[in-house]
């Protein structure tokens, strides 16, 4: 009952916050189009047609976004790229959320030696140069889609863990935690029932920083040739490729770049709005 009520209340509040709704709606619409677009379009993301290179966007034969320098349909490729970008965003945030929050909350709440050991481990991981780590992964394992997630996830949760630990350190000194201990709630009960919910506002804000960061990181890796490999693509890889044709065919750059910017902005605004909703104290009357 309470879960249903919470959902009902949250949706009531969501209706009040137009910005959150608009951004969530746009991201949702983009996801649907990105998933369905390649299926519905008559064109394939692989098929090259050297006679039809760098065509301007047109409605006539369904090539809404035109074609790239190899004559591939840019609409289908952009949608494929958006799929990858959104997937990176989702996976990176889930990894940093689950690992980072639990790791940070446990280290911060238990404290003492365990905290010291756990946080030094984070420091060691921080000290590894990111690119070196990625190259190492690529060398040791087969190069794959999955490795990009591992690499980005492995970096992203570190920040989250540090921030969550800091917040937990101050939360555990609060009187309501003492009250819970006196009641007889176990340490894990306190972490799950009292600490984690109070971290929510902070975590949501931090997520809005992590998601764009992950998206940009993926673009960066792709740019270096360590990320998504042709003919697979992502928004970042498309932008990178578009830079070459900037002068003759600006749409090859502008369309994926614009889409990337919209995705990043939507995530930022969404985070802003969600933070206001997650913190019961900030709620407008």
């Amino acid at each position: 009952m309470s879960a249903l009520a919470a959902v009902a209340r949250l949706s009531g509040q969501l209706r009040g916050s137009r910005l959150v709704l608009v951004c969530a709606g746009m991201l949702l619409a983009m996801t649907v189009v990105a998933l369905l677009g390649p299926v519905l379009s008559p064109h394939s993301y692989l098929a090259t047609d050297l006679d039809r290179r760098l065509l301007a966007p047109t409605l006539s034969n369904g090539q809404l976004f035109g074609t790239d320098d190899l004559g591939r349909d840019l609409f289908v490729r952009t949608m494929m790229g958006a799929q990858v970008t959104l997937l990176v965003a989702v996976v990176a945030s889930i990894v940093s959320l689950v690992i980072g929050v639990l790791y940070g909350a446990i280290a911060g709440f238990i404290g003492g030696k365990l905290d010291a050991v756990m946080m030094r481990a984070v420091d060691v991981l921080y000290a590894l140069p990111f690119i070196f780590l990625v190259i190492l992964l690529m060398v040791v394992f087969e190069r794959s889609f999955f490795l990009i997630f591992v690499a980005i996830g492995a970096i992203n949760w570190l920040d989250m863990a540090r921030i969550v630990r800091g917040q937990t350190l101050s939360l555990r000194e609060r009187e309501f935690v003492d009250a819970a201990r006196l009641i007889g709630v176990s340490s894990f009960g306190i972490i799950f029932r009292h600490i984690t919910p109070n971290l929510l506002g902070l975590v949501v804000v931090y997520m809005t920083l992590t998601i764009p960061q992950a998206i940009l990181m993926e673009s960066f890796l792709s740019f270096l040739g360590l990320g998504i490999q042709e003919p697979q693509t992502s928004l970042g890889a498309l932008v990178n490729r578009g830079v070459g044709q900037m002068e003759q065919a600006p749409w090859v750059l502008l369309i994926p770049a614009g889409l990337l910017a919209i995705v990043l902005l939507c995530f930022n605004f969404l985070g802003d709005g969600l933070r206001d909703l997650a913190d019961p104290r900030d709620k407008a009357q």
Binding site: E175, D178, A179, L182, I183, G184, V185, P197, N198, L200
Partner: protein
């Protein structure tokens, strides 16, 4: 001559349902001291800020504020900046927030003089030093170069008063100037304000919730409630024959130390429920190579019987909170043992069984901070039921929550609220409900009513008394408020710098204190009766740092009865039929 004339002053904020101040009028004459009293939200501070021109930008102000006939509302910022320290100055409640942490105390004083071209160069320094001396700062040359965080609370408030008075204003507005201070320091600051005021003929507008402070310091008084003026008149008239029902209630709620205890007498021969035996707590300074050991609480023993209320009194830093936290197991004690119902309790809370944890519960000072901000009231109160009756159904928990809400006098509709949506009194009732739902045997209240207004405080204390009568609950009340001690307790433990000064029955302690510190505490409490004879200043100086306790009796540097022996030998806690006292001269002194 009229100095300040406020008429028809209204302050409101967009979105608020009612104005913060509503058509208020008041006058202050030259050299007069006027008090404004009211509970929180009554508009006292808003009035002061309106007079000072310090209201936030979104406040809508109307009416008139005239100083020496000059209209201040709508005056230019340049003009206000001229007037502000020279004609009208303000002392705020929190001196830590009011002093600039990046400037030394002396620099802050000097800047006022230089900015207003009152004195320059060496002269400014001389005048600043003289001012610091005048407000009674010990060692003014050193404090001149100190930063605000290096001073104690009382010294900070003195420095703030110095900065307010250095430009010799005609009117000083003091907004709760002593609320954050200990009672003995409060007495010192208030008498300092009086002395300075009389010496320079400055008028004082004193804003406080404490009727005792008003009664001792103000010639005329205004009673505010909800932004409206209830009553204005001479202080004596308002205390002796209040005309308005609201001010009557306010004065009735403010009780001095004369009201006898309201607690039920104990049945004789009951066995102790909680026995605290030689418990001491010490911390180690965090420093490389171990650091110094800091004795927060030296061995303390006391026991509490079923249905008994033990009050622990002392100023901040006396170790009272540390002591009960050790008893509860929230801190590790250094020595001693704690027995509950004849069984020794393990040190750490996690080693205590849920059943023993249930027996001892605590109510904290800040009611909102002690409730999880992300949980609703219903789940906050249901949580202990879930822990202690794991098999119970949701319906059972709901019924128990409704039951307990009814018992503590809360509307069941509040179950859906978050803690920040409650008033202070409601939040404290929720905290009490959360503790009582476990049916504890001992309830420890750490300054549980310190953050609450007079009438709300009364209600919470009545609730605790009712619970005690109902289930012979034992209470341990930690407080610095002696009026609460007088009304609520059977026995009183007085602590100073982690040591027990005196342990005596309520009546005995208030009628015949045997330790000079107890006497000083009693004398420092402002009496809400303007007709009472003025008491001599209770005690000078401030408590020493717990890091460097004075040798011998720790109270001797402040004690007016100290003899040579007091600075050498540590007095032992002497037990007689009347209680315990740790003073070399207890037998020869008559402090009653």
């Amino acid at each position: 001559m009229t100095l300040l004339q406020v008429s028809g002053l209204s302050v409101s904020y967009p979105g608020a349902s009612k104005p913060a101040v509503n058509e208020l009028g008041l006058t202050v004459n030259d050299g007069e001291s006027v008090g404004i009293v009211g509970e929180s939200g009554s508009g006292k501070t808003q009035t002061a800020l309106a007079v000072m021109g310090l209201l936030p930008a979104n406040a809508e102000v109307s009416g008139s504020v005239r100083l020496h006939g000059e209209e201040l509302l709508g005056a230019s910022l340049a003009r206000l900046n001229q007037l502000r320290p020279q004609k009208i100055a303000m002392v705020f409640q929190d001196p830590m927030a009011a002093l600039n942490p990046y400037l030394t105390i002396g620099e802050q004083l000097k800047r006022i003089l230089i900015a207003h071209r009152i004195a320059l160069g060496k002269n400014a320094k001389q005048r600043s030093l003289a001012m610091l001396r005048q407000v009674g700062l010990p060692d003014p040359e050193r404090q001149y170069c100190a930063y605000s965080h290096q001073l104690s609370g009382g010294m900070r408030q003195r420095a703030l008063i110095a900065s307010a008075l250095i430009a010799e204003p005609d009117l000083l507005i003091a907004d709760e100037p002593t609320t954050a201070l200990d009672v003995t320091i409060q007495a010192q600051i208030l008498s300092l304000l009086q002395e300075l005021r009389q010496a320079s003929n400055t008028a004082l507008l004193l804003i406080t919730h404490d009727l005792g402070v008003i009664a001792e310091n103000c010639e005329r008084t205004l009673v505010l409630d909800n932004g409206c003026l209830l009553e204005a008149g001479t202080t004596r008239q308002i205390f002796v024959s209040p005309a308005h029902a609201g001010s009557k209630a306010l004065i009735a709620a403010a009780s001095g130390l004369d009201n006898a205890a309201a607690v039920a007498p104990l049945s004789a021969g009951a066995l102790p429920l909680l026995e605290v035996d030689d418990v001491s707590v010490s911390f180690r300074e965090r420093r490389r190579g171990g650091g110094k050991e800091l004795h927060a609480v030296l061995p303390v023993s006391f026991s509490v019987r079923p249905g008994e209320t033990m009050a622990i009194v002392g100023e901040s830093g006396s170790g009272k909170t540390t002591l009960v936290r050790a008893v509860l197991g929230l801190l590790t004690k250094k020595t001693g043992s704690i027995g509950l119902l004849g069984m020794a309790l393990p040190d750490a809370l996690r080693k205590r069984s849920n059943e023993t944890r249930r027996q001892m519960q605590m109510v904290f000072q800040d009611p909102v901070a002690s409730l999880d901000p992300a949980m609703r009231v219903g789940s906050i109160i249901a949580e202990p039921i879930g822990v202690h009756e794991p098999g119970g159904t949701a319906a059972h928990r709901r019924r128990r929550v409704d039951e307990i809400l009814d018992r503590v006098g809360l509307d069941p509709e509040l179950k859906a609220r978050f803690p920040h949506e409650l008033s202070g009194g409601q939040a404290q009732r929720v905290a009490i409900a959360r503790a009582l739902v476990m049916q504890p045997k001992v309830l420890i209240c750490d300054e549980a009513v310190a953050a609450l207004d007079g009438t709300v405080r009364r209600d919470i204390l009545d609730l605790l008394l009712a619970e005690q009568r109902r289930s012979s609950l034992s209470l341990i009340i930690i407080t610095h408020d002696l009026a609460v001690v007088r009304q609520m307790s059977h026995r009183v433990l007085v602590m100073y710098l982690g040591r027990v000064c005196e342990l005596a029955s309520n009546d005995r302690l208030f009628r015949q204190p045997r330790h000079p510190y107890t006497r000083a505490l009693l004398d420092s409490v402002p009496v809400p009766d303007p007709t009472a004879a003025r008491k001599p200043r209770a005690v000078s100086g401030e408590a020493a740092s717990i890091l460097r306790p004075p040798p011998g009796c720790v109270f001797h540097p402040r004690c007016s009865h100290a003899v040579e022996r007091c600075s050498k030998d540590t007095p032992l806690l002497d037990e007689t039929a009347a209680g315990k006292v740790a003073c070399h001269r207890a037998a020869e002194l008559d402090l009653s």
